[in-house]
């Protein structure tokens, strides 16, 4: 047997008796045995399994650390979803709001094809999301409604609630001024817990805390839709207020009596003409200086 084979077998502790004898006959047998004996001195330091395990034990956390590893990413996903959901809920429940500034009119299409003409210096808000359950708009100012047939339609103002089915009507709510005119169908006006039904052509007017007589209106649409504001026996201060809504000017009325009643109309397109139509019937004169107008007695 070759020397190398013998040594390898010796290394692997795999010599049989015969091979052992042959191995011992090798010339470098003594060298090998000597080296082997010396090598034993390079032994690794003693390692006590039990002792070192006892030392390790406290460092192993009692609960299985892996069992909660799924929780963290899950919480992250949940947080993102929660934020996305709340943003969606917030934006979708937000009311749609339309505002007009002085001398501006606009037409708004509601989700059910009802339309609203919004007069100057007014605001209208409604919730598109809940529209199918609840036809409800909040109005501040003046607007003319053409309501598609359907469930109850409510116009909520600070002065009162106007509820209708399918109809056309005008709501005007200004400071201490509340006027509802029905043009078609039937309109219910709830004001101070009292409900009044308005038939076509009828107007509900509540000015300065007084309910005024209902007068028959013959127009098909409110006159402001055609660029005019008209009044019937309305105190001058309300006329002036509407005037200021239609023209961006400031009217000084210190020298005149604003509680006088005015019947008539003024146009929205011509300041001079409009001023004349208000002042002449009342025997007033006016002077313009820039954006402010002073009304005086003649």
């Amino acid at each position: 047997m070759k020397r190398e084979e013998l040594i390898k077998k010796w290394l692997d502790n795999n010599l049989n008796t015969e091979e052992q004898n042959a191995f011992e006959q090798l010339e470098d047998y003594n060298d090998l045995i000597k080296m082997d004996a010396t090598l034993k001195g390079f032994k690794a330091p003693e390692f006590s399994i039990n002792q070192s395990y006892e030392a390790l034990k406290p460092k192993l956390k009692p609960e299985q650390p892996a069992s909660k590893q799924w929780l963290k990413p899950l919480l992250r996903i949940a947080a993102v979803l929660a934020i996305a959901l709340s943003v969606y809920m917030y934006t979708s429940n937000l009311d749609t709001e339309v505002n007009t500034i002085i001398a501006e009119q606009t037409t708004i299409a509601l989700p059910d094809n009802s339309t609203v003409e919004l007069n100057a210096n007014s605001s209208l808000s409604f919730n598109e999301k809940s529209w199918s359950d609840n036809r409800e708009v909040k109005l501040n100012g003046e607007a003319f409604f053409k309501v598609a047939k359907g469930q109850k339609f409510d116009v909520i103002t600070e002065e009162g609630i106007v509820s209708v089915l399918g109809t056309q009507f005008n709501v005007k709510q200004r400071e201490s001024y509340f006027e509802v005119t029905c043009y078609e169908g039937l309109v219910g006006v709830t004001h101070n817990n009292k409900t009044i039904k308005l038939k076509p052509g009828h107007t509900f007017t509540f000015i300065d805390g007084k309910l005024l007589a209902n007068e028959k209106e013959n127009a098909v649409q409110p006159i402001w839709l055609h660029g005019e504001s008209s009044f019937k026996s309305v105190a001058l201060k309300h006329v002036i207020a509407e005037f200021e809504n239609q023209y961006s000017i400031k009217i000084h009325t210190d020298q005149i009596d604003t509680s006088r009643l005015f019947t008539g109309s003024f146009t929205h397109n011509n300041l001079d003409l409009a001023l004349k139509s208000v002042t002449i019937p009342l025997n007033l004169s006016y002077s313009i200086s820039g954006k402010s107008i002073l009304l005086k007695r003649e």
């Binding site: 040594i7 290394l11 390079f42 395990y53 192993l60 892996a66």
Partner: protein, 171 residues
Amino acid sequence: MSKPLQDNICESQLFERLYKKHAKNLHDFLYYKFGDHLNPQDQVQEAFIKLWQNCSKIKPDKAKSYLFTTASNLTLNVLAHKKVVLKHTQQPQKHTTNVTPEFVLQEKEYHIKLQKAISNLTEAQRVAFLMNRIEGKRFKEIAELLDISVKGVEKRIYGALKKLREEIDEL
């Protein structure tokens, strides 16, 4: 013997069994590979702590190679190829009667030569050779520990032996 069907080692009794099976081998492996520059005992602990932290991801049959790889890497991170010099603990001499000062000197010289020669082995050779010569492990056991073939182990060990003899004769 029926083995419990487990696909991870998070169960503490199983973990303890793994420790008792592999800790000593791992310790010796680290010592022969890197010497005691870094406390191999600490490295063993570190490796087992890592194993425990990742216990859910590691199957029992993969635990051993995970431990050896982790411990090796841990040690390597700190140890930038330092020369490995193993300490020699003086064995009690058998022939106490005829110890002459000359003999003692010769013995000492021989130790130093051997020590140097061991340092000059490659890591792979040194681990396989010393696990075999000192810890008395058979080729097959070493092959399993290191995840290499028995032939590979044989080659490493015989190569180491040859190299040692040559170096000692030269010195």
